[in-house]
């Protein structure tokens, strides 16, 4: 416990981390709040439509007769689910592929690197559009879309992890572990994984914001998630599609835009400050600049 406390103590010296942490906490709180929503997320005409923000409806209501605030809570929750599923599964693929190809080397490495490089150069946006057009029924579920996004985002990080493991493999303590009779699996789990975990954490956050962005892109094109299920992307798409600005309902359009910007900035600052914390050289550089 003392260790965790010390880590947070160091991190809270960075204003970017403080702001990002508060914003993420706030958005998570909103996402959890969706459980207590008095309205159904998909049903229309539950409230008077087109009301401007008031005490009863903090963010007003939209033209479909839905409360924008409660819609937002669902949207954040769903977007975060997609992002976390995508980041989680792509991290698992990246760690497994990176460690296996880095540690095994030889033919295994060549095959896995080729697969990774191929995935990397694929025009993934076009392929995502085609897949979500063909498999519309499959991708409209939150976790399925997350899985699809995961498949397109593991390759970069697998490459980074592979290069780390390649250099770790030649270090003497790995040889000593072999001498101490540890099995390959145990060496990977106990000696290699702790060295790789920092990369996994920071790329997890980066990958989340990438997944949220991709979801918004797909939703804007009318693909991906079922458009009646609120996510940040579908909220934006509905508002634009229903001419929110023309109707004068600016709060309908501004809510998803502001939330998306907040979320992106917060995730970016989180990842930057955490990776700076994990890389002492960058941290010293910043402290030096402050003087």
């Amino acid at each position: 416990m003392g260790k965790i406390k010390a880590i947070f103590y160091d991190l809270f010296k960075d204003y970017r981390f403080i702001i990002a942490f508060i914003v993420v906490l706030l958005l998570t709180f909103l996402a959890i709040l969706s459980i207590f929503s008095p309205y159904h997320p998909q049903r229309m005409y539950q409230v008077t439509r087109g009301l401007s923000p008031s005490l009863q409806h903090p963010l007003g209501t939209n033209w479909l007769g839905q409360d924008v605030f409660w819609q937002l809570t669902f949207a954040i929750k769903n977007s975060l689910i997609i992002a976390i599923v995508a980041a989680f599964f792509s991290r698992i693929i990246a760690v497994v592929v990176g460690i296996v190809s880095g540690y095994k080397g030889g033919t295994t490495d060549r095959v896995l690197t080729t697969i990774g490089d191929t995935t990397m150069v694929l025009p993934f946006l076009i392929i995502l559009i085609i897949i979500s057009m063909i498999l519309k029924d499959w991708t409209k579920h939150l976790s399925n879309l997350g899985l699809l996004l995961a498949f397109f985002s593991w390759a970069w990080d697998a490459r980074v992890i592979r290069s780390q493991v390649l250099s770790l493999r030649e270090r003497e303590f790995i040889l000593v572990s072999v001498l101490s009779g540890m099995s390959t699996f145990k060496i990977v789990r106990k000696q290699l994984l702790p060295h790789v975990l920092p990369i996994v954490f920071t790329t997890f956050i980066n990958n989340m914001s990438w997944a949220i962005g991709m979801e918004i892109t797909l939703a804007y094109l009318g693909l991906g998630i079922d458009p009646t299920v609120p996510t940040i992307g579908t909220m934006l798409q509905t508002a634009i599609y229903r001419q929110a600005l023309f109707l004068g309902l600016w709060w309908w359009l501004a809510t998803p835009i502001v939330t998306a910007i907040l979320l992106f900035v917060a995730l970016y600052w989180l990842s930057v400050s955490i990776s700076e914390y994990l890389d002492p050289r960058a941290r010293f550089q910043r402290i030096g600049l402050r003087k």
């Binding site: 270090r171 003497e172 303590f173 040889l175 000593v176 572990s177 072999v178 001498l179 101490s180 009779g181 540890m182 390959t184 106990k190 000696q191 702790p194 060295h195």
Partner: protein, 322 residues
């Protein structure tokens, strides 16, 4: 005269360069040697001569192109990878003590791993007793390393701990790859003395890999001088280092500065070829630097010739040639 570990005709070829301009470098060429029980055998030579590669091949970290490894007259698979039963008898200590321990784990962790993995005991109390006993051999105690990270210990402490770890499972052969070159001078002798003590007390055989001829002369029984992947001279340490036969050994001897203030070190050392070119050289690899090189040296690889108990790989001693 039993041989505990024998290496026969070990060869390791690396291919380097791109797909279109590939060239092959023979890092270890036809190396054969053996060690007897309770003996310190030194592999000496300049950096890049294939000492470490030889050690890594014996330990199974590298796969040789050809060759045989015999342990107690039983051939060991030369394939890269797990040699659980072999490593139970043959342990190693590496050069850099700061690199020998995982910086993210405590030092005692690898001690417990060694004991549990080789099933010396499964009882933690007994394990601690054993670790403490082996650490006392090198002048440490369990409390010195318990719960400590490698960064909290000094290089000397870590190197001694590293030796203690290799002794945990009572190996019969210890391969030490430059064990004293990263340790300060005061500790150097105590570590070298430790090897001598282990040899006489528990009958441990040590393969001592070094470029430092002084400690090699001090501690070892037999010595092999390596040059560009070849053993150029091998025999009892007194014979090889006091009366060197191979021109390369002579050169090595001469490059040790004498402790005499009157004597100026004015001998000119000419390095004609870079390492890479020497590796690709036909015939004797030393011919480019050899003061007594003959025409045949540049064409034919010299044979190993036995001169006064010493194996020399040089045309100078070839009777047929004369």
């Amino acid at each position: 005269m039993k041989k505990i570990l024998e290496i026969q005709n070990l060869t390791k070829v690396y291919s380097i360069g791109s797909l279109f301009s590939r060239s092959k470098i023979t890092a270890v060429e036809n190396v054969s040697f053996y060690i007897k029980p309770s003996e310190i055998f030194t592999l000496a030579g300049e950096s890049g001569c294939g000492k470490t590669t030889t050690a890594k091949i014996i330990l199974g970290f590298e796969e040789p192109t050809s060759g045989k490894i015999l342990f107690e007259d039983n051939p060991i698979s030369i394939k890269k990878g797990k040699r659980y039963h072999f490593l139970k008898k043959v342990q190693a200590v590496f050069q850099n003590p700061f690199e020998s321990f995982n910086p993210l784990l405590t030092v005692d962790d690898i001690f417990f791993e060694t004991i549990y993995n080789y099933r010396v005991t499964t009882n933690k109390e007994e394990a601690i007793k054993l670790i403490d006993e082996k650490l006392k051999v090198v002048g440490l105690t369990f409390d010195d390393i318990h719960g400590r990270y490698p960064s909290e210990l000094s290089g000397g402490q870590l190197q001694r701990a590293s030796i203690a770890r290799s002794l945990l499972i009572d190996p019969s052969v210890l391969i030490t790859d430059e064990p004293v070159s990263m340790v300060d001078a005061s500790l150097r002798m105590s570590i070298v003395n430790l090897f001598a003590k282990l040899k006489s007390q528990i009958g441990l055989s040590v393969i001592y890999i070094t470029h430092d001829l002084a400690t090699a002369y001090y501690v070892s029984d037999r010595i092999a001088i390596m040059f560009r992947g070849n053993i150029v001279e091998m025999g009892p340490v007194d014979e090889v280092l006091i009366r060197p036969k191979h021109p390369y050994t002579k050169l090595l001897r001469e490059s040790i500065p004498e402790a005499d203030p009157q004597k100026k070190w004015d001998k000119e050392i000419t390095i004609t070829d870079v390492e890479y070119e020497e590796y690709l050289r036909q015939g004797c690899k030393f011919a480019g630097r050899c003061p007594v090189a003959m025409e045949i040296c540049k064409k034919e690889v010299p044979k190993e010739i036995l001169v006064d108990d010493v194996l020399v790989k040089c045309h100078m001693y070839d009777k047929n040639f004369e």
